[in-house]
Amino acid sequence: MNIVVAMKQIPDLHQIRMRDRQPVLDDVPLTLGNIDKNALEAAVHLRDTHGGKVIALSAGSEELEDTIKEALAAGADEAFMILDDSLDNADSSVIAAVLAATIRKINDVDIILFGEGSGDNYSGQVGSRVAGILGLPQVGYASSMEVQGNSAIVTRSLEDGEEILEVELPVVIAVMADINEPRIPSVSQILKAGRKPQEVLELDDLAIEILEEPVVTESNLAPETPRKQVVVKSVDELIAVLRTEGVIGR
């Protein structure tokens, strides 16, 4: 069984500093998204149970050749990378087109795994878009999964309960962060990661047309909520103010 895990190269969120309400990304090391690592762990578990191989798939700037070693150390058997500097900040539709075209090239894929959202923008669109382009069924919010014969049994974690679906392979599945705890790779696995098979593609290698990006990200900041800055000196006064504001006593 061949499993593709789509993984996004992002700046290490722990090391980003803010200046003038903008993230400072200079010299911030790149890593792979956290939930993408959950998807990889799920894939490695399936491979260890059913055999086959795990292919890490990612599109991004040339630093990706280094970043992808994280996936290869953590259990991926090989990697496909599409390298272009424009891809690090590309729109979801562009990334989906690039990934889908590459998956077609890989061929013979049974399961395509995504993290529910990327570590930086968390738009959560790429998995659905790839499924749409490839004409495959797609399951989101997966909290567990197993494969039986030619089907995947996927538990979806929804707000008001769980839903268990049986889906025929090949399928696109987006996993939640709580599906597992990604393993910590050993020193040997880290040092051998760079020696695993890696296929590097450029945009020209893919028969796709990149349209002008329809979505422009203006800001990733949380919306500012204006504060009323009311100062109270007693609990009674606080209750009175909250009542006036309609926060309590309705």
Binding site: I184, S186, V187, S188, I190, L191, G194
Partner: protein, 380 residues
Amino acid sequence: MNFNLTKEQLLIQKMARDFAERYIEPVAEQIDRENKIPDEIIEGLAALDLFGIPFAEKYGGADGGYDGYVLAMEQIGKVSGGVAVTISAHSLALGAISTFGNEEQKVKYMTPGCQGQHILSFAFTEPGTGSDPKQITTTAVKDGDYYVLNGTKRFISNANFPGAIVIFARDNESGKITAFIVEKWTEGYTVSEPWDKIGQHGGQLLDVYLKDVKVPVENVLGGPGMGYPILQLGISFGKVGVSSTALGAILAAYEETLKYSKEKMHRDSSIAKFQAVQLRIADMAIKYEAARWLTYRFGCLANEVKDPRQFAKEAALTKTFVCETAVDAARVAMDIHGSYGLMNDYKVARIYRDAIIGPQIEGVSDMQKMIIAGVALSSY
């Protein structure tokens, strides 16, 4: 000159940090209290190759170099000095076998050690001497295909784990010091209860009693009478681990200080706003960076030792600076914590008790300075 870590080095550092934070930190206080590392931590360290980072893959190691070793050890040492010093002492013995052992010895004794099934020991110190070979009283008497060892070894790390122990003894015939690879728990090998030492709990020190311990002739390490060179170079390699452990303590002291100075309020303001606190934080930042790059450089030097005497000097100066700095940093961290720093409920108290061990082990600081001065003066 390039001070950037490679992706692999960054991943080794992150691996050790993740393991330390996820698995060791929750039991670090328990390790300190019980002076014992839980089995599952030992198993976890073994699974990540942390017992064999710098050693060759053909002997069970990870081939990660001493540069990879320092990066991992700093992160382990930051969370638990006792766990780090256990790996350090084990790696000291492995380093001696790796450098001076023959092929058969390396395969037989390094492989289970690098894989963490065995935890090795290095036994030079005796009740009467810490580093003077002339005062070694443990004896080795040749009897056919065996040597018979008798004596007492003091403050020996990991002496109660299974595995090999490198023992230094005076050859009765030549009067010279010879190193032997002995399998712990062989007949006549017994140990004391662990010493109740001030810090680095979990890293147990025991006395080893040798009563007519029979060691096959083929277990002589490096040849008869080679004990002193093995001690010198072996201890130099051992200082990589001790320095990295102390570096972790500096980082821990520094981070605890940053955290506490922002949390602790005085008259509606965090104490981090006070210049007196800021100056101490700046001093710690300066010293941490200096210690860090000195230790990382030491790791790189250990990968390819060209001149054992020069390497002994580099080892001595790094170990002295980093271990002394760890004590300074822990002391300043306690100052920032005020009376709370004296309480065992606060991590900084443990950091201090761990740090103060460093300047005393694997050669006290004054002895290190004599090595440094000796090499410096002789090569001028």
